[in-house]
C-alpha cells in the first residue's frame, strides 16, 4: 500500500524524523484556515499517488492568504496523470541550502534492506544512478543485525556528505531504517532530504510503501487505505476479498492463482483478444466468492465476454461450478461465458454445469481453446453492438 506524502510525513514524525510542519485539507476553506495557522509563505501540495506533481502545477508557494486560496482552489480537483486531487497538504515553506536523496528499499534480489544516499537529490534519482553511479552510495544491511552507526558513517562518507553533516545524516538514516522496520515498509524514500541554512537535516518529501500482508498488526496504517484512489471495480473487489486489477480490454477474466491468471491474460492476448481485468479468485474459492467475482467482472460495462480458467488444486471445480450457477441466478449475465475446468473435482464440476444448461455458457477443454473461443465471442458481440 502506497501512502500519500503527508501520511508518510506523519509516519516519519512518529519516528522522530524531522519534517516540516503542515496540515491536510480537503476543501478550500480548510486549506486557507490551515495556511493562516501555519503562516506565510507556505506551500500548497497536491496529495496524489503519482510523481511529477510539481511539473503538473500541483505544488505552489503561497505568499499570502489570497494566494493560498487561489492555489487550493486550482489544485483541489485537479487531474494529475489520471489521478484526481482530493486533498492538499499545506506546509510551512522550507529554506533549502542543499538537496540530498535517501531511501531504504526491501531488496528482493539481495534479500536484505538496501540503504541508498546521494548528495544529488531533488532530481530524478534514476538518472543520477545511471549517469553517475558513484554519486549514489549503497549499502545492504543484515536484517538480523540492523542498522548500526558505522553503516550511517560509511554511507555518508561514500556519498561525499559535508564533514559537519556526517553525523546528522547518519542519524537520519538510522531513524529511517527504524521506521522502515517498525512500520514494515517495502520502501521509504526521501527526495529531497534537505539541509537548511542552519545545517538542519529534514525530510521534505516522503514516499512510503507498506507491506499489505503486515497491515493486520498496524491498524493505524491499515486505516489509511484510500478507497478513492481505487477504481470502482477494484474497490468493490477489495471489499469482497478478491484480487482484481482493471485493464483496458473487453474480455472479463477469472482464474485461480495469480500465475495462472497472468498466463490466461497472455494466452487471450496471443489469441488476439484484450483482457478487461485480472481477477484471482484465490485458493479454495467457495461458491459465494465466485458469485462476487462475477458481479465485480460484470460491473465493468466494457466486458463483452467472460473467460473462467480454473485448474483446481486447493480450489474444487464443483464449488466453482456451483458458484457460476448461483451467479447466473443472482446476476443474470447477458454476455457469453467460456468455462474451462480442470483439476480437483473437475468431472463433478463439468457435470453440474452440463445439468444446469446455463444460457450462453460454452465449455472448453484446454486453455488455448478457451482463449480462442472467448476472443471470437467478444468479437461477435462487438460486431453485433
Amino acid at each position: 500500500m502506497d501512502l500519500l506524502e503527508y501520511q508518510g510525513k506523519q509516519l516519519f514524525a512518529r519516528h522522530a524524523i524531522p519534517v516540516p510542519s503542515g496540515q491536510p485539507a480537503s476543501t478550500v476553506e480548510q486549506a486557507v484556515a490551515a495556511a493562516d495557522q501555519i503562516g506565510y509563505p507556505c506551500v500548497v501540495k497536491a496529495q496524489v499517488l503519482i510523481g511529477g506533481r510539481g511539473k503538473a502545477g500541483g505544488i505552489r508557494v503561497a505568499k499570502d492568504r489570497a494566494e493560498a486560496e487561489q492555489h487550493a482552489r486550482s489544485i483541489l480537483g485537479m487531474d494529475i496523470k489520471g489521478f484526481t486531487v482530493h486533498e492538499v497538504w499545506i506546509e510551512e515553506a522550507s529554506q533549502i541550502a542543499a538537496e540530498y536523496y535517501a531511501s531504504i528499499v526491501f531488496d528482493r534480489a539481495a534479500k536484505a534492506p538496501l540503504v541508498m544516499l546521494s548528495k544529488e537529490g531533488g532530481v530524478e534519482i534514476e538518472q543520477v544512478a545511471e549517469e553517475n553511479p558513484e554519486a549514489l552510495a549503497r549499502l545492504h544491511v543484515d536484517p538480523l543485525l540492523g542498522f548500526q552507526d558505522f553503516h550511517g558513517r560509511r554511507l555518508a562518507f561514500a556519498a561525499g556528505i559535508d564533514a559537519d553533516l556526517i553525523r546528522p545524516v547518519g542519524a537520519m538514516l538510522a531513524k529511517l531504517y527504524a521506521a522502515f522496520v517498525a512500520e514494515e515498509a517495502m520502501l521509504v524514500e526521501v527526495n529531497p532530504l534537505i539541509v537548511t541554512p542552519e545545517r538542519d537535516v529534514r525530510a521534505l518529501d516522503a514516499k512510503v510503501t507498506l507491506d499489505d500482508n503486515s497491515l493486520y498488526r498496524h491498524a493505524d496504517n491499515a486505516a489509511l487505505r484510500d478507497p478513492s484512489a481505487e477504481d470502482a471495480q477494484e474497490q468493490m473487489a477489495h471489499e469482497r476479498g478478491l484480487t482484481y486489477v482493471k485493464l483496458e480490454g473487453d474480455i472479463g477474466i477469472l482464474g485461480n492463482g495469480a500465475g495462472l491468471v497472468m498466463s490466461t491474460l497472455d494466452v487471450v492476448a496471443l489469441a488476439g483478444g484484450a483482457p478487461a481485468n485480472f481477477l484471482d479468485a484465490g485458493g479454495g474459492s467457495k461458491a459465494d466468492a465466485i458469485v462476487s467475482a462475477v458481479e465485480v467482472i460484470l460491473s465493468d460495462e466494457k466486458v463483452k465476454a467472460v473467460l473462467f480458467n480454473i485448474f483446481g488444486g486447493i480450489t474444487r471445480c464443483d464449488e466453482v461450478a456451483k458458484g457460476l450457477i448461483e451467479a447466473f441466478d443472482v446476476v443474470k449475465p447477458t454476455v457469453p461465458f467460456v468455462v474451462r475446468l480442470d483439476g480437483t473435482n473437475d468431472v463433478e464440476g463439468r457435470r453440474l454445469l452440463a445439468e444446469a444448461n446455463l444460457p450462453n455458457v460454452h465449455t472448453a477443454t484446454t486453455m488455448n481453446e478457451a482463449a480462442e473461443k472467448v476472443v471470437e465471442l467478444a468479437a461477435n458481440a462487438g460486431a453485433a453492438a
Binding site: M186, N213, L260, G313, G343
Partner: protein, 292 residues
C-alpha cells in the same frame, strides 16, 4: 530418484487440526506420504485419523522421527512455526501459508541461511510432489505420474497447468517443486535447478516464472554456467501493466526490470528456450525429449 521429498520423507504437519490442514495432511497420507505427526499447541495427545498430534515440533521429531515439516498455520503464526521447525532439527521445511508479512520472511530467511542443514521451500507455495513416492502440500497429485521431467515453479496453479500439459503428452515427473511467489522465497530457482541437475532421474528441467524480481535472470546465468541438462522455461505476465500488483507479492513490475520480456530475453540469451504459452512450453519439452 526425485528431489527433496520421497520414500524417506517423514512428515510433520503444523496446523494439522485446522480444516485445510486436516484435509491436505490426509490427502498427502492417502497418496503414500509417511505423515508421522501433527503439531497444534494445546492439542498434544489427540490424533487426526491416527496421526498423533503433539504440542511442539521438538516432540514430533523426538517421538516420531519427523524430518520434514509442512507449515499450514495462518500467516501470523507462520514465521514462528518455521523457526520452531528449524530449531527442532527438521531438515526440510515446506511452507504452504500465503500472506506472511515480508519482514517476517526476511528475518526467517536470513536466520535459516546460516544453518547449512536446513532447506526452506516456500512460503506461499503449493508444496512438492515426487510422483509415485510422496506428496507434501496441495498439488493435485492424481494428474501426474512418475517420469523424468523436473518442474520448478513460482506459481501453484500454473505448475498444475504445465504439469498437466506434459502429462497429456505422455511425460511424467521426477519431482514438481513449487517455490512460491513471495518476495523472499526460501529456495530459489537456482537451488532447485541444482538439485535436478544432480538427480539421475531428471532428464529435462522445466522452470515456470513470472514477472517481478530477478530470480529468472539469475537462474539464466546459473544455467549457462552450471547446468548440462536441457532447460525449458515459461514466463507469465507479458500483458501485465507496469506498476500493478498482480496478486502475488512477487509479481510486481516497476520500470523495465523484472518484466516478462526482460526475463525471456535473459533466458534465451543463455540458450534456454522459452514457450509463449504453457502448451508451447510442453511442446518444446516434447521436441527435446522426443515423443513418448
Amino acid at each position: 530418484m526425485s528431489v527433496l521429498v520421497g520414500t524417506d520423507t517423514r512428515l510433520v504437519v503444523t496446523g494439522i487440526t485446522g480444516r485445510e490442514g486436516t484435509f491436505h495432511a490426509l490427502n498427502n497420507r492417502r497418496y503414500g506420504t509417511q505423515v508421522v505427526a501433527g503439531v497444534t499447541p494445546g492439542k498434544g495427545g489427540q490424533d487426526v485419523e491416527g496421526i498423533p498430534v503433539f504440542n511442539t515440533l521438538a516432540e514430533a521429531v523426538e517421538e516420531q522421527g519427523a524430518n520434514t515439516a509442512m507449515i499450514f498455520v495462518p500467516p501470523r503464526f507462520a514465521a514462528d512455526s518455521i523457526l520452531e521447525a528449524e530449531e527442532a532439527g527438521i531438515s526440510l521445511i515446506i511452507a504452504i501459508t500465503e500472506g506472511i508479512p515480508a519482514h517476517d520472511e526476511l528475518r526467517v530467511y536470513t536466520h535459516l541461511k546460516r544453518n547449512p542443514n536446513v532447506t526452506l521451500v516456500g512460503p506461499n507455495c503449493p508444496g512438492i510432489l515426487s510422483p509415485g513416492k510422496a506428496s507434501v502440500g496441495i498439488i493435485p497429485a492424481s494428474f501426474f505420474k512418475q517420469g523424468n521431467v523436473g518442474v520448478v515453479s513460482r506459481s501453484g496453479t500454473l505448475t498444475y497447468q504445465i504439469g498437466n500439459e506434459l502429462a497429456q503428452r505422455g511425460f511424467g515427473n521426477s519431482s514438481i517443486v513449487g517455490i512460491g511467489g513471495d518476495p523472499v522465497p526460501g529456495s530459489s530457482f537456482i537451488d532447485i535447478i541444482a538439485l535436478f541437475e544432480a538427480d539421475p532421474e531428471t532428464e529435462l528441467i522445466v522452470m515456470s516464472g513470472e514477472i517481478g524480481g530477478s530470480a529468472e535472470e539469475e537462474a539464466a546465468e546459473y544455467i549457462a554456467a552450471n547446468v548440462t541438462k536441457p532447460v525449458v522455461a515459461y514466463i507469465a505476465g507479458f500483458t501485465a501493466p507496469p506498476g500493478k500488483t498482480m496478486g502475488h507479492a512477487g509479481a510486481i513490475v516497476s520500470g523495465t526490470a523484472g518484466t516478462a520480456r526482460a526475463k525471456q530475453e535473459a533466458l534465451e540469451a543463455k540458450g534456454v528456450r522459452v514457450g509463449r504459452t504453457p502448451t508451447e512450453t510442453a511442446e518444446l519439452a516434447m521436441q527435446i525429449l522426443g515423443n513418448r
